[in-house]
């Protein structure tokens, strides 16, 4: 317990927030860097993965690719990817930028699968009847995508982005070992100096940052869900409705929908 008190004292020490401190200080700059890396890599990954995920969800083409790709990526060790990219990029880019470029590429690669899966699962979760209704009213495929499928799948799209953001925040910590800035430097310098307050303080900061950012995205997810229909709610993908009794009635329309989705491929 004493360790934790010391760590919190370290976190609350105003001296650690004075501008122009040495290496991992001041803390607020490291938090800013961490958020910046996260934002840049998730933004780039979204630009690549969202259109692709939406396309796959809309056309139903390439779903097997998404499933096996996300599965493969899950087994990729992040530390290995970071270090390998650092050496490969370091051979071509000047040393000062190598860490940044290599880290961002690694973070983008790691963020893509969740965002891709979110976009694809989101569009696929939209009730085909709703899509058919739009088509019957004379909407073009583009209009269907923009006005029906994307709004209805926003909760799942955001849940994919949430997963990606968490992955990126966690991996950016490790990237301090290829001399990227951010909160990881607090922990790694703490390990180097054998300074417990710093290790623990840094770890608490990262966890707090992850929880705050994730909480914010969860709120955003709830906001867009309230506007959208119930169908696209992530909760509806898990199978609550059995729980107590009246299952047989509730089951029907959902199975109908699932069968339709299945036959689409």
């Amino acid at each position: 317990m004493q360790f934790f008190l010391d760590a919190f004292r370290w976190l609350l020490d105003p001296a650690n927030y004075v501008a122009g401190g040495i290496s991992p200080l001041p803390i607020q700059d490291r938090i800013g860097e961490h958020l910046w890396y996260t934002f840049v890599s998730v933004a780039i990954a979204s630009m690549i993965a969202l259109p692709l995920g939406l396309f796959i969800g809309h056309t139903g083409r390439g779903r097997q690719f998404v499933i096996s790709f996300t599965g493969m990526m899950r087994a990729l060790p992040t530390l290995g990817l970071l270090m390998a990219l650092f050496l490969i990029i370091g051979a071509t880019v000047p040393f000062t930028q190598a860490a940044f470029v290599a880290s961002i590429i690694a973070l983008v690669i790691l963020a893509i699968p969740s965002i891709l899966a979110g976009g694809y699962a989101g569009v696929e979760s939209v009730d085909p009847q709703t899509v058919d209704a739009g088509r019957a009213m004379g909407m073009t495929e583009m209009q269907i995508l923009l006005r029906i499928e994307i709004p209805l799948s926003l909760p799942l799209i955001i849940s994919g982005i949430r997963a990606a953001v968490l992955q990126v925040i966690a991996t950016a910590v490790i990237a301090s070992y290829i001399s990227l800035g951010g909160l990881g430097t607090v922990i790694s310098s703490g390990i180097g100096l054998n300074d417990n307050e710093r290790i623990l303080g840094g770890a608490i900061l990262v966890i707090a940052l992850a929880l705050v950012v994730d909480g914010f995205l969860a709120l955003l997810q709830r906001l867009v869900t309230r506007r959208g229909s119930k169908e696209a709610r992530p909760q509806n993908i898990d199978f609550r409705r059995r729980s107590f009794g009246s299952a047989a009635v509730a089951e029907e329309p959902v199975n109908e929908r699932k069968r339709h989705v299945q036959s689409k491929k």
Binding site: R74, A75, P77, L79, A84, I187, I191, A248, K258
Partner: protein, 226 residues
């Protein structure tokens, strides 16, 4: 490739340790998550506590958790038990939601039929709910297996002797081949585990060879976003 030949003993030893460090959390995670998933389906408030707790734990980044655990467990920072505990936490966090969904998706009439012929809660779970939830649980287990094996290597930063050592060492020596061999070996473990889990599923659930479309779509949803 000559590096691999010369250092084959090292790579083999690291691979073995890596596999051990992964298999314990995978098994423990499954054993803990399934009962928790069952409990989660008892009521709505329990469900939100269990599932919410799972996603909260999953939010914690790995390296900070590795370095915090020694202070909580009273272990030394280089102790491998920290890694096992941390990875078990992640395995439970990932698995508990799948377990709850899998058990909730067991057809209600099957459960009710078994209750009406007098099965106790305990026999009903083992003879009806658990086997019927099996395919989805298996899919969840495959996800947990792959991500656990990938995460173990982060432990090398705090001195664990697993394949992650090839990453940190290769980076220090500016030696790409060593890193790539580490990644390859890690993939190999993941592949072997995945095949083992699938085969285990076939042996334990021979009735599942002809997959029903409904269970397939549930499985895909279980693997969907993460």
């Amino acid at each position: 490739m000559s590096w691999l030949v010369d250092n084959f003993d090292l790579v083999a030893r690291l691979t073995g340790n890596h596999a051990i460090l992964s298999v314990i959390p995978i098994v423990l995670g499954f054993v803990i998550a399934v009962p928790l998933g069952w409990i989660a389906n008892r009521s709505h408030s329990l469900r939100s506590w269990v599932i919410g707790g799972g996603s909260f734990l999953y939010t914690i980044p790995s390296l900070p958790l590795f370095v915090i655990l020694p202070y909580i467990l009273g272990t030394r920072i280089t102790d491998e038990r920290n890694i096992i505990v941390a990875l078990t936490i992640y395995a439970v966090a990932m698995m508990v939601r799948t377990a709850a969904d899998a058990l909730a998706a067991v057809p209600a009439d099957a459960v009710e039929a078994s209750t009406s012929i007098g099965y106790s809660l305990w026999t009903r779970f083992w003879l009806v709910e658990f086997p019927l939830a099996g395919p989805v649980l298996l899919a969840g287990l495959r996800v947990v297996s792959a991500s656990t094996i990938a995460l173990v290597s982060v432990g090398a930063i705090i001195g664990s002797a697993n394949l992650g050592y090839l990453f940190t060492n290769g980076k220090q020596r500016d030696f790409l081949e060593e890193i790539l061999i580490g990644i390859g070996a890690s993939f190999l473990i993941a592949l072997v585990f995945d095949i083992a889990i699938v085969l285990l599923g076939r042996v334990l659930m021979p009735w599942n060879l002809r997959k029903s479309p409904a269970s397939k779509s549930i499985r895909q949803n279980a693997v969907g976003v993460y």
